[in-house]
């Protein structure tokens, strides 16, 4: 069982420890007997989408995000072909915004993006960092994480999560609550969330979901139970306890 990960721009799109998502998924898959190779691509490289089974990009500063976009756009077709072939992709933090139609920066410049979905993002000059509690139809239990967002994403038809506390969702701005509690984006094997940092570390059920999708795409048989690695569930539960406790009582 051999797998290839493609980690896009880890030298600068890993602003909140996002590299850990790649490490944790890899460790889980290795515990299942898979041999995982992680390829990294820098801005100057042509990413090898052809052999990628899992594609990941984390968060960057707003300026770095635009540089990542500029580097990635010429490889849009190759990326799309990989997704069509069944590769699983996860984009977290403001990397999510690149999957949509455009990002308008705080100065008003419109940056056309990959266009995998029709949603658009507008940056503003305020940040709304917050802890987030959410849920999803894709697994049982709470989703926890942190959002460090200075933008509003609008027009997501298929959100990944439904937010229960901390942020109004993809608009990211308590003053711009459009009543839509959707957060992130999912379509087939493409997953995106504006949650920053090691989302998979914080949510072992999300790791399990990606494992299932990767196994399915490869046509491999899934074992009855997936590996449970030490301390991960306990860490998730401690965070849930902290966030769903008194601070978020009444949501």
């Amino acid at each position: 069982m051999e797998l290839t990960f493609l980690h896009l721009y880890p030298d600068c799109m890993s602003l909140y420890g996002e590299y850990a998502n790649v490490m944790v998924l890899r460790r889980h898959l290795e515990a299942m007997g898979a041999a995982v190779t992680v390829q990294t691509a820098l801005f100057e490289d042509a990413p090898d989408f052809e052999h990628a089974d899992f594609i990941y990009m984390g968060a960057g500063t707003e300026r770095t995000q635009k540089a990542a976009l500029t580097a990635l756009l010429p490889h849009k077709e190759a990326f799309q072909a990989a997704v069509d072939r069944g590769a699983v992709a996860l984009f977290t933090g403001n990397a999510m915004e690149l999957l949509g139609a455009s990002v308008t920066d705080a100065a008003g410049r419109v940056w056309p993006c990959l266009g995998f979905a029709g949603f658009t993002t507008v940056e503003h000059d305020c940040r709304y960092p917050c802890d987030v509690v959410a849920c999803t139809d894709l697994w049982e239990g709470d989703v926890v994480g942190f959002m460090n967002k200075c933008s509003a994403t609008l027009g997501v038809d298929t959100p990944l999560f439904r937010v229960e506390a901390g942020t109004p969702g993809n608009t990211g701005n308590p003053d711009q609550d459009d009543g839509d509690d959707g957060e992130g984006y999912v379509s087939g094997g493409v997953f995106a969330t504006h949650l920053t940092g090691p989302v998979l570390v914080k949510n072992p059920a999300f790791t399990d979901l990606l494992i299932r999708r990767i196994f399915t795409a490869k046509g491999w048989e899934l074992p009855e139970t997936l590996p449970v690695l030490p301390y991960e569930k306990e860490a998730h539960e401690a965070t849930v306890k902290g966030l769903v406790g008194p601070r978020y009582a009444g949501g």
């Binding site: 030298d11 600068c12 890993s14 602003l15 909140y16 420890g17 996002e18 590299y19 850990a20 490490m23 944790v24 460790r27 820098l42 801005f43 100057e44 500063t61 707003e62 300026r63 770095t64 540089a67 940040r127 960092p129 802890d131 926890v144 942190f146 460090n148 200075c150 920053t196 940092g197 090691p198 570390v201 914080k202 690695l229 030490p230 301390y231 991960e232 306990e234 860490a235 401690a238 965070t239 902290g242 966030l243 601070r247």
Partner: protein, 444 residues
Amino acid sequence: MKLFLAVILCKLLRFIGGLVGKGSSLPGQFALKVCPDALGRVKLPPHIIAVTGSNGKTSTVEMIASILAADGRKVVYNKEGSNQIEGVTTLILSNCSLGGKMRGDVLLLESDERYARHTFKWFHPTHFVITNLYRDQLTRNGHPEWVYDAVKAAVFPETTLVLNADDPLVSCFARDHDPAKVKWFGLDQCSVSAKEHRGVYHDGARCPVCKGRMEYSCYHYAHIGHYACPSCGHRRHDTDFAVTALDLKEGRLVINGETEISLAFKSIYNVYNILAAWSVCALAGVDRAAMAGVINNYMLKNGRMITFRLGNHQGTLLTSKHENSVAYDTNLGYIADTGKPCTVLVIVDAISRKYFTGETSWLWDIDFDRLNCGHVRKVMLYGKYCNDLAVRFKYSHIPADKIEVGEDIPTAAAYLKENGDEDVYVVTCFSDRDKLLAHVERDG
């Protein structure tokens, strides 16, 4: 009249606050309600020095104050660390005559990175020292470039910038500033310099101007070093004030090739703080010998190292701000350099003392592998976030059999009290340190 009332109110509330031991922000907050433009109306001293940056503000300000005081200047500064506009207002109005003239020769301000623009809307510093910008409290600060933009809004053309040349992001402040009004400090290549970057992440990997690949001829720590961008030409500027030789083990440095200083604290941070203080005091006209007299073996009053006894252990608590991986890395490096058998206790219980968050991604930015050395016999991970720590350590190279995990801090203290006599290092934040110190006998 409004200013007069604001001054009276501020002084009165400050007096009452002093009696009941309350903080220093409230009087300024009320005074600003009475006279919102009070800071624009008062007459300030001829020298206004501000210090900002991710790390080292408090220490640098303390040293500048000591040097200037030794030179006979009357310095007014926010020694209580209230560095947002309300605290600064309290400081200034408390030191004003009823006519609105501030006493003192120098107003010295430790300035919050994100709020400096609010304070300096009303008056502009004559000198603005910017020490460094890196990942620090990202739950409130966003990221270093966000902080850069916030500080940039507080930079005015008439201010002389005193910049750390070794920080590529800090150096950007000079890009559209009058070059005659920029002074640079930095560390020459020396014994602490390394060819390779050390750390889990590298915020200097990309040029902050063009995002091209940055090249370094040497690193002093983290992304601080000698850099040049081959794409756009952004590079380390030549220095006006330099540490030209450094022996951190022996605790000696030389400034500008002529003044030797002994270090009471042998940390690279301390080197930069000293150099920043030296630079701005030299610009303020203080004599070299007078500066050296104060800085030599300078003991910081806000020392963040606390020694204690716990059972048969000699203990050292190294205060390492949570959400600040550079502070952690420095303290872990200190433990690695001791070379003596020890146990390390890492506590993450409350991530901040000022606000609540469950955000622990910063643990992944810390280079815990620095503890992967023979003399570190045991690593104890404690506090509410012990499991997050334990997961993080699973991805370090530290053998699992050295690691112990538990939530209850008193249990860790009781265990150590009853077992062993090796040195103990405690690595934690202001928010959590008293939870351990309550169980020890402090030295001195």
